[in-house]
């Protein structure tokens, strides 16, 4: 009696349990990969800024606001003053603009929710990429059509290396691009 129960346990129940667990884990791992990498992360921002309106409809250039992109390692989110350049006058009675003006007048910076973040131990350099003619869309997706900005591509090291190693295939229209460095010190100082 006892013997056959343990036997049944070990020969059927145990392998079945292990297999189910592993299958569930693997399935969930791969299905959730994109989400875990942050793809699709579109949080609410303190002020409902629409890139579709500004960058798409009004065709404001990315670099009008994100000024660091050609000069510095960081792309930089614009200072509130940049917004007030236009919004001192433009639509200044709309509720979102009122929120913006309140921040500006109170001299408090706006805490935007960060979307695109590479871990601190990887030192990504925007200007090196932009100055080689890589467009913002290649990594940040079609921002001009996003009402709420979100992460559209994976920012894992595998994704970076994928483009670094096959640069010509990923960016066929770029004439000056070469394969990017894939040694450690390129990013990990």
């Amino acid at each position: 009696m006892k013997k056959s129960f343990i036997d049944h346990l070990l020969r059927i129940r145990l392998p079945l349990t292990i297999f189910t667990a592993l299958a569930a884990f693997t399935f969930t791992y791969f299905i959730s990969k994109a989400e875990r990498d942050g793809v699709g992360y579109t949080p609410d921002q303190p002020i409902n800024f629409s890139h579709k309106l500004h960058a798409g409809t009004m065709k404001i250039d990315c670099q009008y606001c994100h000024i660091g992109v050609e000069k510095s390692r960081h792309a930089l989110v614009p200072a509130t003053e940049t917004c007030m350049n236009c919004h001192k006058i433009a639509r200044k009675d709309k509720p979102e603009i009122k929120k913006l003006t309140a921040y500006y007048e109170a001299n408090k910076p706006i805490h935007w929710k960060r979307i695109h973040k590479v871990p601190d131990f990887a030192y990504f350099n925007h200007s090196a990429h932009v100055n080689k003619g890589i467009d913002c869309i290649s990594c940040h997706g079609d921002v001009r059509n996003m009402d709420k900005i979100g992460q559209m591509n994976s920012f894992t090291m595998a994704a970076c290396l994928d483009c670094h190693r096959t640069a010509h295939d990923k960016l066929p229209d770029n004439k000056i691009i070469k394969n990017g460095p894939d040694n450690c010190y390129a990013c990990h100082r």
């Binding site: 006892k2 129960f5 343990i6 601190d120």
Partner: protein, 70 residues
């Protein structure tokens, strides 16, 4: 006999299960969101550095590093 007993646990009452797990979830969630402000180096928390850095408006900067070729 002993091994059989191991697998003969009582069924957990469904209602209390959900109530307690819901309460547990809320408890840990709220504590974590409070404790995050106390952990150093946490980028999610608020900036603890209460030192203000201001530039001097009359200082004149140089264009670039300036060559150190002696």
């Amino acid at each position: 006999m002993e091994i059989e007993n191991l697998f003969n646990t009582k069924k957990i009452q469904r209602k209390s299960f959900f109530i307690y797990s819901g309460v547990g979830f809320l408890a840990v969630y709220s504590i974590k969101n409070v404790f995050k402000y106390f952990f150093a180096g946490n980028t999610i928390g608020q900036n603890k550095n209460n030192i203000t850095i201001k530039l001097n408006p009359f200082a004149v900067k140089r264009d670039k590093a300036g060559s150190n070729n002696v």
